[in-house]
């Protein structure tokens, strides 16, 4: 059984940069455990001689000539930003002062 703990849920939420309320953590613990139980059935499949498939088509590097093209205009790039301080995007404090 893939029962996962509250701490597991909180750890994964931290990795995913996802704030969850206490209720959400509770619900997620139950639901993820149930889903993982269903997924665990894959353990019975013999894949000892099987390679993984990441894509069904053969992916090849796509090259183009190294020619400059017009970039997206700055005002267009910034148009959807929740916080801007032209000509920049503005973000909240990254490091506390004095560190």
């Amino acid at each position: 059984m893939a029962s996962i703990s509250r701490e597991d849920v909180e750890h994964v939420a931290h990795l995913a940069r996802l704030h969850l309320t206490d209720d959400e953590v509770d619900r997620m613990q139950t639901q993820l455990s149930n889903i993982l139980d269903a997924v665990e059935t894959l353990r019975d499949v013999d894949t000892s001689h099987v390679g993984p498939t990441a894509s069904v088509i053969r992916l090849e590097n796509v090259m183009r000539e190294d020619e400059a093209t017009a970039p997206m205009p700055r005002d267009v790039t910034l148009a959807n930003a929740p916080l801007r301080d032209d000509p920049f995007l503005r973000v909240p404090t990254v490091l506390e002062e004095g560190r």
Binding site: D8, L18, L42, T47, P52, V62, P73, T77, P82
Partner: protein, 502 residues
């Protein structure tokens, strides 16, 4: 020829009437807009409609028709809708809102009000083909769902029975086409999100081969599985729209450069000599008897038309769900990392960057999206990567190999699209696993990257049932031919919900 002006006909009939001068793009557009005006808010099909922009595009199409431009523009004058997972250009070159441009939400609060600076390939190609964009349709948030109940903008109602779901995730598109609000609509299909809602609404839904249609401008859910395709009211119409969409696009590195056949010319109505496999594993436990009966009857119709029906086995079918629910969430968790509250979309306004990431994402994503981000992040995290993610990719190889082997001895596979007809809104919202089972018959096709089409094959309990035809990679021609031949003789091509007759 005179045409009865209802928005419930086919593209083929509308194009013929336009060319003959019996109707105009403006009339067709007005008929769709009237239907949207009458039913749209109640069914919650559209997240954005712009009647003025649509009428203006219709007038331009009428002018083009008058100049005789219809011949090489197969959708000239035909009104359609785009699932709101496709970006549509909504900013001018100075970053100001473009008149007639639509926001793009992906059904999520986190993108509320987002205006794309560029168009999707689908929008561009359909504009080149002459189609008129009516608006953007409701969908499950980031295309994650099978009922359209995961939209941040409310559920969509199925025009066949408004207490039931239209399927998902492309539920607004399926309901709009079933309800005569558009001549066709585009959806996206990562695990069944075109075929399953087509089945539940009595429409034709096509998922092309992975790589057949460009995904440029389609907001990514699971990049190794996503494809886009049309909802239509006939198989012939599906062939017309696929012809306009298909082809190589240098902006999508997974778009395959392989010739696009004339899909309409391939609709011969003849299935004699074709070998069609029926995989026993697709008649799954929990399947409704009325659905099984309709699908079995459809298989008999194709046998009577001269196809050879053979029993085949795809033994790993029951591993599809588990495989999918590792691979799709893993890819989604990576794709959705871009929603960080910095460049676009919602920002929680916290005073510290880290806190702003987590608060923005916590407030902006709905429960199903959070669940899948968590599941995917877990499967990719240290200590679980090999046990879950690599294992799922290995089983993916097995599933694909089984399809390849079966399709080396049959021309196509016949199966149910969905194990049930449309279910009641609210019936499965508290049980994610029960909801995931809706896609048991469709998601193996995405895992293998193959083309699949759902075509109406009758009613069960008064609600539509879909027959799924699955083909070889890049052989959309054969599944369209089979579905069209079936549609011609089966007599379900005229199935319409009561709203179409009201």
């Amino acid at each position: 020829m005179s045409v009865e002006l209802t928005p419930d006909g086919t593209i083929a009939d509308a194009v013929a009437a336009l060319r003959a001068g019996d109707t105009s793009a403006r009339e067709l557009t007005d008929a769709c807009l009237a239907r949207i005006e009458r039913d749209g808010a109640r069914l919650n099909t559209f997240l954005a409609v712009d009647p003025d922009a649509a009428r203006q595009a219709a007038d331009e199409a009428d002018a083009a028709l008058a100049r005789g431009e219809g011949a090489d523009r197969p959708l000239l004058g035909i009104p359609y809708a785009l699932k709101d997972i496709f970006v549509t250009r909504a900013l001018d070159f100075d970053g100001r809102p473009l008149p007639g441009g639509f926001p793009t939400t992906a059904g999520s609060r986190i993108l509320e009000g987002y205006r794309s600076p560029f168009p999707s390939s689908a929008e561009e190609r359909l504009a080149d083909a002459g189609a008129i964009l009516l608006g953007k349709t409701n969908c499950d948030e980031f295309a994650m769902g099978s009922s359209n109940e995961n939209s941040a903008y409310g559920p969509v109602r199925n025009p066949w029975d408004e207490s039931t779901v239209p399927g998902g995730s492309s539920g607004g598109s399926s309901a709009a086409v079933a309800g005569g609000q558009a001549y066709f609509a585009l959806g996206t299909d990562t695990g069944g999100s075109i075929r399953q809602p087509a089945s539940l609404t009595g429409t034709v839904g096509l998922k092309p081969t992975y790589g057949r249609v460009s995904r440029w401008g389609m907001i990514a859910f699971a990049s190794s599985l996503d494809q886009c395709g049309p909802f239509t009211r006939s198989v012939r119409d599906s062939a017309v729209v696929l012809g306009a969409l298909a082809g190589h696009d240098p902006r999508d590195s997974t778009s395959v450069d392989t010739p696009v056949p004339d899909y309409v010319a391939g609709l011969t109505g003849d299935v004699r000599g074709l070998r069609l496999g029926v995989p026993r594993e697709y008649f799954v436990p929990g399947m409704e008897p009325g659905v099984e009966a309709a699908v079995r009857a459809a298989i008999d119709v194709l046998r009577a038309e001269g196809a050879e029906i053979v029993d085949v086995s795809l033994p790993s079918t029951d591993r599809g769900l588990a495989t999918y629910y590792i691979i799709a969430p893993a890819e989604a968790s990576a794709n959705l990392a871009r929603f960080d509250g910095v460049r676009y979309g919602l920002s929680a306004g916290a005073d510290e960057l880290w806190e702003n990431y987590t608060r923005t994402r916590g407030a902006g994503f709905g429960p199903e999206v959070k669940r899948r981000i968590m599941l995917g992040t877990y499967a990719l995290s240290a200590g679980y990567y090999d046990a879950y993610y690599v294992k799922a990719q290995q089983v993916r190889t097995l599933i694909k190999d089984e399809f390849d082997e079966v399709l080396s001895s049959v021309d196509a596979i016949l199966a149910p699209t969905s194990p049930t007809v449309a279910f009641k809104i609210g019936a499965k919202v508290d049980d994610p696993l029960a909801m995931y089972l809706n896609d048991a018959c469709t998601l193996p096709v995405n895992i293998a990257g193959l083309p699949g089409i759902s075509v109406p094959c009758g009613l069960s309990d008064g609600l539509p049932v879909g027959l799924q035809v699955i083909g070889r990679a890049f052989d959309e021609g054969t599944i369209l031919r089979i579905a069209d031949a079936y549609e011609r003789v089966a007599g379900f091509g005229d199935l319409r919900p009561a709203t179409a007759r009201a």
